[in-house]
Symmetry: C2
Subunit: 301 residues, 2 copies
């Protein structure tokens, strides 16, 4: 391990720790009737925290420091809460009907379907609450911008819309353009949103934004291609969720469309292009964003 990768590993470890601490502080068990417990169960322990790390890395790309309870950490945790709520709802019997997530029973298995539904709903509201602390510690213009970006990334023109396309696509033969459109909404919008929200917190100069957006777009697409590959080549124990589900459910994937080898090549190409966009941004501190692209390419679950 050279100095650069050692520094990157240290960056990852320190920021993962800070994110876990912040999530644990902000997702409180004092929400009534066991709902707080279910919310903590859904969020804490076991996530890769790719989205929060993207927010923090983007916010630091212009050289700013991340403060423990500052806007960037709030944005980082807010996107993770949106991601966590989507997993809770997505695992429910009326959606993917999955019983395992991050190596644990899914929320509806553990707490019942009604509580799982409310858990997701409350996590979405908490995400927006985090962005506006109400104590003057986050600038109003920034808080408003973060709320707008998060709402757009999560809603009908983003994640929820992509899930609706996914639902409607089971058993259909999508072409690559249609498949990419679905994923651009379903997972890409929130991943790209992470980068843009982080950039807003870090006051990245406007000329660098299109390059960061390009990085976020390609990273988001690569993430999904890798996900499709892993669903085929990995096993349930390694994934922490049920493997082989896409084929079982007759879902269109990049593997079913391109074949395994070409899908792997496509993911690598996208990540190389994402890292090239970072170079074009001319930002002073893109090493963490570069490393996160490597992480997406190399992830085992």
């Amino acid at each position: 391990m050279n100095t650069s990768s050692l520094n990157t590993a240290q960056w990852m470890a320190a920021h993962m720790h800070a994110v876990e601490q912040a999530l644990s502080d902000w997702v409180c068990a004092d929400v009534p009737a066991g709902l707080g417990d279910a919310m903590r169960y859904a969020v804490l322990d076991g996530g890769k925290r790719l989205r929060p790390l993207l927010v923090l890395a983007a916010s630091e790309s212009a050289g700013a420091a991340v403060l423990p309870r500052g806007a960037a950490m709030r944005a980082a945790c807010a996107v993770e809460l949106i991601h966590a709520y989507s997993l809770v709802h997505d695992d429910m019997p009326c959606m993917d009907n999955d019983v395992l997530r991050r190596g644990k029973p899914t929320v509806h298995v553990q707490y019942g379907q009604a509580q799982a539904l409310l858990t997701g709903d409350a996590l979405q509201a908490l995400a927006f609450e985090l962005l506006v602390p109400g104590d003057g510690s986050v600038d109003d213009a920034l808080a408003a911008q973060l709320c707008r970006r998060l709402a757009l990334a999560a809603g009908g023109q983003g994640m929820a819309g992509g899930q609706a396309i996914d639902l409607a696509s089971v058993g259909l033969a999508l072409n690559q353009s249609e498949l990419e459109h679905m994923h651009r909404l379903k997972t890409g919008a929130l991943l790209q949103g992470c980068v843009l929200m982080g950039a807003a917190c870090g006051q990245v100069p406007p000329r660098a934004l299109p390059h960061l957006a390009d990085y976020g777009h390609r990273l988001g697409l690569a993430f999904q291609v890798v996900d499709d590959v892993l669903d085929v080549v990995s096993d349930t124990a390694t994934l922490g969720k049920t493997a082989g589900k896409d084929a079982d459910q007759d879902k269109p994937t990049f593997v079913s469309l391109l074949g395994l080898e070409k899908a792997q090549t496509y993911a690598n190409d996208l990540l190389t292009q994402a890292q090239a966009a970072l170079v074009r941004s001319e930002l002073p501190n893109v090493a963490p964003l570069h490393a996160l692209a490597d992480l997406v390419g190399g992830r085992r679950h």
Copy 2:
């Protein structure tokens, strides 16, 4: 009908019309894969629009005018979207399992459970999106404040938390204090939130806020007492939703606790107290808020 009530009726009709128009403009069918259609189905045609009218009435109580695409109309529609999403999720088989709402098949009956789940999720995101238009037309400080108030009213310490208490209370003998705590969260937080969000849009002076908050609290509680009464005395056709469900589901209600007559008296007392709080606010234009309390007391569905 005297001049005052005629004016009130005109106010109601004009503002209802404006709310319907704004909701129809903002809940767009262009959300993909039929999700936009399901969102419109959940929101348009048939609601009483009590919450939006409360926002608008509170915003006008200090004498401000409501603009068609201004902050108050955005807040009015945002709270209605939160209310609509909660109904969609609440009607699902894992929750109340209801098939009829506003006289129509519920969303999961019409579109399937998976789409209903996504419909609610997307409506919640859209509520926050509306509050931050991103075109500079709403002041950032106001947008941030509205997002915070809405998130608190909708989340674990508000509506979702109250629903969790409700779930946990089936078959239990709650006392009046416990029952009121549940409803303060489940319906009261959003109704009071309407008044406070409207007040923020209308720049109500700080000295009047505690009185408006008191009005909102009592109105919210009265709303629930009336709801419990109607569940007993009304029929399904009039309600537009299944009547007699509380007793069927062995849910604690104000009627089961106080008896029918005392519950009716309690609702009337709360509404009289709410209207007295308006007088104490010394705001120049409380007639619409006064009329909305009458509406809550006299509503047939």
